[in-house]
Amino acid sequence: MTIKQCIHTILFLVLFVVLLRFATYVLRDKSGAEYIYNFRDEPKNSIDVILLGSSHMYRTIQPMELWNDYGIASYNLGSSEQSLPLSYYLLKEAIRKQKPSYVVLDVYMLIMPLKDYTHERVHQVVDNMEWSVNKIDAITDIISSDEWIYYFLNIGQYHSRWTEVTKKDFQRIKSVTKGSDFTQGHTKLKEPVWRKDEKVEIPKMPLSYLYKIVRLCKENNIELIFTLMPYAVDTHKEHTGIFNSFEEIVVENEWDYFNLISLSKEIGLDWSKDFAETQHVNPNGSRKVTKYLGKLLRNCYQITDHRGEKEYQSWNLNFDAYFDYRRKILV
């Protein structure tokens, strides 16, 4: 092979990779991508609080309202049915670029014993991570080896979407909420009855990853706060039992844990008005819970108020955009 041929071959392969990346981006199913994808746009070391968990987290806590009310710089890295392993790898991803002082983790997904539940959900997280050793670790840990190829080359997962591609698929994924969203609607619920005496063993898999998150936070001097976001916990028989067992572990380890279902009176939640369905609060409820969490973070922890700082000017502009977005969807 001559030098010219060598250069030609390399050029051919480089162009191939570029084209493949482009085709992969266009063909990707982008539903739910905006929640995590835009995290990469945050300036280095600008985020103080990382929020993690399932839809209970990202459909309840609105970072832009924490900003406007308290000047807290947070990002909601919650995603639909985010298993504890996914939360663990997302946190590892986050601390590659950010130095958060606090992590707020919603513990609802302790109920989920499966690592790769479901492929759609894993894709929604992993596809939105930047390429790194951490992403490779996440894929090889969570997914069985015969499926790896569809995560390393996810065009294999999405190529059949070529018939559904629209103009939007070519545009950059964009969001103004810093990872959160709303659930609209209204369902009349009753305040759940919490039986404190019932105990159900927590599934081993999620608990082991919860310990990993605890260790990761300790190693990085991050204060970890656990929450249980409000939902109709009594619609599933074993849920209260699992969280009763968790409470025991919390006391044993002296962790910070806020069961916001038990605190719903203090929050001012109206179970007959503030819920979209049994699993999620509606925008009204979201406002109340976000406000309460902000107050908690402000009063019990020393979180910096960044309002008025030059480096955070973009947050004020972003709040205006968020406010417009909120007003539009709440019509």
Partner: protein, 78 residues
């Protein structure tokens, strides 16, 4: 058309199928009549373009992968 739709092919796939058959027929027609030599005598840019086209056609239009295994790979709202 409705029979084709019942077979699980939408409009785009029918067009793709026809184009593919046309492509097959053309290659068949010119095979052994200097098709490869003709291809190699073109500029390298054109050669690359054709190779990329063929490779990406296989990657994108091929019937393989989880989306063809499962019935519906759909995200629900939550």
């Amino acid at each position: 058309m409705s029979i084709i739709q019942q077979a699980g092919l939408d409009f785009q796939n029918v067009v793709l199928l026809m184009l593919s058959i046309l492509g097959c027929m053309m290659v068949d027609q010119f095979r052994g009549k200097g098709l490869y030599r003709y291809f190699r005598s073109r500029s390298w840019i054109l050669q690359w373009l054709i190779i990329y086209l063929i490779v990406f056609a296989v990657i994108i239009f091929g019937i393989y992968g989880p989306s063809y295994d499962q019935t519906g790979f759909l995200y629900s709202n939550f």
